[in-house]
């Protein structure tokens, strides 16, 4: 029981995530991809006569079952197999983040940032509203996210997915190392 509560090694997680690719293919020819679920939600809730959302989303409903499963799985892991210790973070990252006033390492997201009190502040605006919007807009523009491009796409040796993955990483490096110092200075 103690073993299951400790964080898993990256190789264990990598193998399980990698096996999701054949699992979905063999269960019913489903292509591993998560950002599509956001498109299906748009098509289901507010298609607004936009051609991009006019398709029979019910045929893609497996994807919504899959993401619902992700939320349930996370609920199970957090409530029953939670690591009692602080989250693991590299010392260098800790030092860099302490300059931004991030002190709380009790949970996987810093409670200093991710709480409801911040929702109507500039912090909340940047980290929830702007961040979320960029994720939803960018993944659909790119035609996929880390799962669809970086894992499914690279597994099937698709060169556009390699380009996408490189762009994800470039965007992330720029965001973390160049934009974030400004953002934190601004929202402090």
């Amino acid at each position: 029981m103690e073993l299951i509560k400790l964080p898993w090694h990256w190789s264990v997680a990598g193998v399980i995530i990698g096996l999701t690719v054949p699992a979905l293919l063999l269960l019913g020819n489903k292509k591993f991809g998560i950002s599509s679920s956001l498109r299906h939600i748009c098509a289901a809730c507010l298609p607004a006569n936009i051609p991009f959302f006019k398709y029979n989303w019910k045929k893609e409903i497996w994807n919504l079952f899959f993401v619902a499963g992700i939320a349930i799985g996370a609920f199970i892991a957090v409530n029953f197999f939670q690591n009692p210790n602080e989250v693991q973070v590299a010392e260098a990252t800790r030092q860099a983040l302490s300059e931004y006033g991030i002190q709380d390492y009790t949970r996987m997201l810093p409670a200093d940032l991710f709480n409801w009190d911040n929702l109507f502040t500039w912090k909340g605006f940047i980290f929830f509203i702007v961040g979320g919007f960029l994720v939803g807009f960018g993944t659909r523009y790119a035609g996929g996210c880390t799962s669809g491009h970086s894992i499914m796409g690279l597994s099937t040796l698709q060169w556009p997915s390699l380009v996408a993955t490189i762009c994800f990483m470039v965007g992330g490096f720029v965001s973390t190392n160049l934009l974030m110092p400004f953002i934190f200075q601004w929202v402090k």
Partner: protein
């Protein structure tokens, strides 16, 4: 990811009763547990990755790609069929400039939220209810892309 360029994502397939979808729920549950246990949903892990301070996330994604690629190769080599006896289809991904522009935009958002779309669902399930706002905003972002699609460079 499917059908980057298609307006309609449906494809011919067998018809099943809706409850057959529960098997995808089960795969999702295993996936969600893994996300939490390997701290893939941790905002801190994403910060580490983009600061090159730890190998963890590179290890997770790299291993997943290798395991995925070997699995796909095995499926092709042995011509494995689905649970329902259909041949497994693979599609080529089309390239357009959206892959570059969208990829960069997503990367910027990924570092800020500490989550790609999968971990968003896991963070909510894991008790960070405020991430529901992030998810709603991501849905709004996808909707905005759909509305502006014809006017954006591709």
């Amino acid at each position: 990811m499917r059908h980057t360029d298609a307006m309609c994502t449906n494809e011919s397939e067998l018809q099943h009763p809706w409850w057959h979808n529960f098997k995808y729920l089960a795969v999702g549950i295993i996936f969600g547990i893994t996300f939490v246990k390997a701290e893939v949903i941790s905002w801190f892990r994403i910060q580490e990755m983009f600061r090159l301070h730890a190998f963890h996330m590179y290890g997770v994604i790299g291993t997943a790609v290798v395991v995925g690629a070997i699995s796909v190769w095995l499926i092709k080599y042995f011509k494995l069929r689905t649970l329902y006896g259909e041949p497994v289809h693979f599609e080529d991904k089309k390239f357009d400039k959206g892959v570059i522009y969208g990829g960069l935009i997503f990367g910027i958002g990924w570092a800020i939220t500490g989550a790609c779309p999968g971990p968003l669902f896991a963070q909510i399930g894991g008790g960070f209810s405020v991430v529901a706002v992030t998810l709603l905003s991501a849905i709004a972002g996808t909707w905005t892309y759909g509305a502006l699609r014809d006017r954006l460079p591709h």
